[in-house]
């Protein structure tokens, strides 16, 4: 190991041709990137989707330690019978240790709440495509200095823990969105499942995701030169998807500390206790380690796919437009051809009838 490093530093020197500890200096590039990005600030758009009552808003509050939905109005069951999905946006500017983050949370109230939920994800896919279209237009515009990126980077989909696995509406939703956004499925309200049940449900959901061919967000594989501990953690992370999460708006006292949790007569559920739920894993993945990866995948694959599709449809439309112009002449031929065809048909029919009559006569003659 050490001999290698010695060889490396020697190669620097040999490249320079100088014997001293002069170096080029591009090892500071990461620091420069860091400085610039801190100055620019980051942005992230997160979408939450799922039936109402699964704890989406509570989870968002727990993740970002704020209270987003202080005065929202929840609809009654009666009003929800024919409800359509609405899209609401909340933007927050939060700062931590000098790093600024502009966070946009997109909520989808009304999803899966009506009695008839066919195509209830249509407003959501339309919204995502709109953001892509907006960015596409901005990108192809003349003045590209201040492009605002409103594309959705990640969609947290909440699966209810009360069933045996995925339901038809879950499958259809994830399939409709898998090519447009990074879908991260979560098991909501996990405090109604014992550890055994959580394991069974996770296995079931993973199986069904494979069976239906749903493309959810995959964690990128660890680099091969990472040490064993990081690789172990990475493996654990991958095996515990989908994350079973619990959220809470309240702070309770447990084991002598104040923690976010839920108080029950039989015990206290701590949100940040790894033995109780996967909240910490989710937060780590979403914010601390993979936020940029989510953004990258959105830019590199989902947006690029959309862009390619857009360009393709535009050019094919132009082609069909051209084709529409030429048939003005052949249409006349088409008309006469039709008439000819009709006459042919009639002729054939009459011939057949004649033949039949002849046959009949022949038959009677024989008699």
């Amino acid at each position: 190991m050490t001999s290698n490093s010695r060889m490396k530093s020697r190669s620097f020197r040999s490249e320079d041709g100088a014997e001293e500890k002069e170096y080029v200096g591009f090892a500071t590039l990461p620091n420069q990137v860091h400085r610039k990005s801190v100055k620019k600030g980051f942005d992230f758009t997160l979408m939450v989707a799922g039936e109402s009552g699964l704890g989406k808003s509570t989870l968002v509050n727990s993740l970002f330690l704020t209270d987003l939905h202080k005065d929202r109005k929840l609809l009654n069951a009666e009003e929800r019978i024919g409800q359509t999905v609405a899209i609401t946006k909340h933007t927050l500017d939060i700062e931590e240790k000098g790093v600024k983050l502009k966070l946009t949370i997109i909520d989808t109230p009304g999803f899966g709440d009506a009695v008839n939920n066919t195509d209830c994800w249509r407003p959501i896919t339309d919204y995502i495509e709109q953001q892509f279209e907006q960015y596409f237009r901005d990108e192809s515009g003349l003045n590209r200095k201040n492009i605002q990126d409103h594309r959705v980077h990640c969609c947290l989909y909440f699966i209810p823990p009360f069933g045996h696995g995925l339901r038809p509406v879950d499958v259809e939703f994830m399939k409709a969105l898998q090519d447009k956004v990074n879908v991260v499925p979560l098991i909501a309200k996990a405090d109604c499942l014992t550890p055994n049940e959580i394991r069974k449900l996770k296995d079931r959901v993973r199986e069904e995701i494979d069976k239906f061919g749903i493309k959810v967000y995959q964690f990128p594989d660890c680099d091969s030169d990472e040490d064993e501990e990081a690789r172990q953690k990475d493996r654990e992370l991958k095996e515990s998807t989908p994350f079973a999460v619990i959220g809470s708006n309240m702070v309770v006292e447990a084991r002598g500390q104040k923690v976010r949790g839920r108080m029950y007569p039989w015990g206290i559920v701590e949100v940040e206790n790894q033995a109780h739920c996967d909240f910490v894993k989710l937060r780590t993945m979403l914010i601390r380690t993979h936020m940029h990866d989510l953004k990258d995948i959105t830019c590199d694959s989902h947006y690029e796919n959309y862009r390619a599709l857009c360009i393709h449809t535009m050019t094919s439309k132009m082609n069909t437009d051209k084709r529409v112009e030429s048939p003005i002449l052949p249409t006349q031929n088409v008309e006469t051809e039709k008439i000819i065809k009709k006459k042919d048909e009639e002729l054939r029919r009459m011939q057949e009838m004649l033949q039949k009559m002849q046959q009949q006569m022949q038959h009677e003659q024989d008699l």
């Binding site: 039936e51 109402s52 009552g53 699964l54 929840l74 009654n76 069951a77 009666e78 929800r80 019978i81 409800q83 709440d113 009506a114 009695v115 008839n116 939920n117 066919t118 209810p160 823990p161 009360f162 069933g163 045996h164 696995g165 995925l166 339901r167 038809p168 509406v169 259809e172 309200k189 405090d191 109604c192 014992t194 550890p195 839920r262 108080m263 029950y264 007569p265 039989w266 015990g267 206290i268 559920v269 701590e270 206790n273 033995a275 109780h276 006569m361 009677e364 003659q365």
Partner: protein, 429 residues
């Protein structure tokens, strides 16, 4: 004797009589109880709820046994109902318990028609009882009553309010069955949230006019507890068939990393209250309500549909017999009318066919004539041709004979000439 008869006939004339000794008819309730215990009891529960919400587990926990259940899939194309009947016995009381579970309720994308299957099932049970009642030879005391006595509606613990599907379904069912709403998987709601949730649910039910089953408060022995329970509806229940050791006892519970939820602990959930209300206190009342309220409503609607009324247009009471007769006459008249119609249609069709066939016959005849004519013409022509041919042949043969004769003659003359020539030549010499 006559005064007693008169007394029995009119309630107004019933005189309370005080007894001077012990007669013994106070044992009537005991006789009734003995008889029904010998017969056995029958109870049917319908459990409606989403797949996986805990219907089968709660039934297992309630009746302290293990009914054969299997997990249903979420991908049923429409709602089905699965009924299973069990014979249970406790002390010397036999219970024929039927549990009907919904399969696939709440899973479809379009749930417009979900409630219809449940309503149809309940109506079918009422219908078969009505049929039995209207039979000529009936055996009601032996009849296995399959009408639903209690419907447990499982509400998902979202913590906010009822789902739209819940509201729609309960509205359709409240006039057909005794609905007892329960909050399932209640170990996911904390106490404060639960209180708010219950209030929200009840207010939504009231504001939408849904009539759930109220525990009866007219009997003094149970009115106090029933009124208290009416205020705790809907019951928040947790079901479990697994046992956990608490202290030195094994109790039914669910073990979590943060604690143990005991099913029979009144502080943890309302399971004990549900069991008491459903089974211990009000089971008989549920059966009675089903028979006197829901079934009677169904019967009245059905018979009115069929055209029976209690009073005819002149507001005079109409007996069932008269209505039967009237209906029967109507039916027979209709039958006759239909028969006539069919006969006429038949006759008409036959006529049409006849004319068609005649036409066809005529056509064929015409064709035949035509063909015959053509045939004879051809024949004539052929005959003529034959004759001409024969004539020609004759003439030809005559000519041939003539030429032959000529030839023969010329030959002879040639030969004679030659002979003459020879003689002449020979004569010269």
């Amino acid at each position: 004797m006559t005064t007693a008869d008169v007394a029995r006939q009119g309630d107004k004339n019933a005189q309370p009589l005080s007894l001077s000794g012990h007669v013994g008819f106070d044992s009537l309730p005991h006789q009734l109880v003995n008889k029904s215990t010998c017969q056995g009891f029958c109870f049917n529960i319908l459990c409606i709820g989403e797949t996986g919400i805990g219907k089968s587990t709660l039934m297992d926990t309630l009746f302290n046994t293990n009914f054969e259940n299997f997990e249903s899939s979420h991908f049923e194309p429409k709602v089905k109902l699965r009924a299973q009947t069990y014979d249970l016995q406790e002390s010397n009381v036999r219970l024929k318990l039927t549990i009907v579970n919904t399969v696939g309720f709440g899973d479809q994308l379009n749930k417009d028609k979900s409630y219809q299957h449940v309503v149809d099932y309940i109506d079918t049970q009422f219908e078969s009882y009505l049929q039995e009642e209207l039979k000529i030879k009936r055996s009601l005391h032996n009849y296995h009553d399959s009408r639903i006595h209690a419907c447990l509606y499982f509400i998902a613990p979202s913590g906010h309010s009822l789902k739209s599907l819940d509201l729609v379904t309960m509205k359709k069912l409240d006039s057909k069955v005794n609905i007892i709403p329960v909050i399932a998987k209640a170990d996911t709601i904390s106490k404060t949230e639960l209180h708010k949730f219950k209030i929200k649910i009840m207010s939504e039910l009231v504001s939408n006019g849904v009539q759930i089953y109220q525990f009866p408060t007219d009997d003094e022995t149970v009115s106090k507890i029933n009124t208290a329970m009416n205020g705790i509806l809907p019951f928040a229940v947790v079901g479990s068939t697994e046992e956990v050791k608490i202290g030195n006892k094994m109790v039914k519970a669910r073990q979590y990393p943060w604690g143990v939820v005991q099913v029979e602990n009144e502080n943890h959930c309302d399971f004990v209250k549900l069991r008491e209300m459903l089974i211990c206190v009000n089971m008989e009342d549920l059966r009675e309500q089903t028979h006197t309220r829901h079934y009677e409503l169904y019967r009245r609607c059905k018979l009115e549909e069929m055209g029976f009324t209690d009073t005819n247009p002149e507001s005079k009471p109409v007996s069932l017999q008269e209505t039967y007769e009237a209906k029967r006459q109507e039916f027979l008249g209709e039958l006759q009318h239909r028969e006539e119609e069919m006969r006429q249609m038949f006759v008409q069709r036959v006529k049409e066919k006849e004319t068609e066939l005649k036409e066809a016959e005529r056509e064929l005849q015409g064709k035949f004539e035509h063909l015959k004519r053509m045939h004879s013409e051809e024949k004539n022509k052929l005959d003529e041709k034959r004759r001409t041919l024969e004539d020609e042949m004759n003439t030809f043969s005559k000519k041939k004979a003539a030429t032959e004769l000529l030839q023969g003659q010329s030959f002879n003359t040639n030969a004679n000439l030659k002979k003459d020539k020879d003689r002449k030549n020979s004569g010269f010499m």
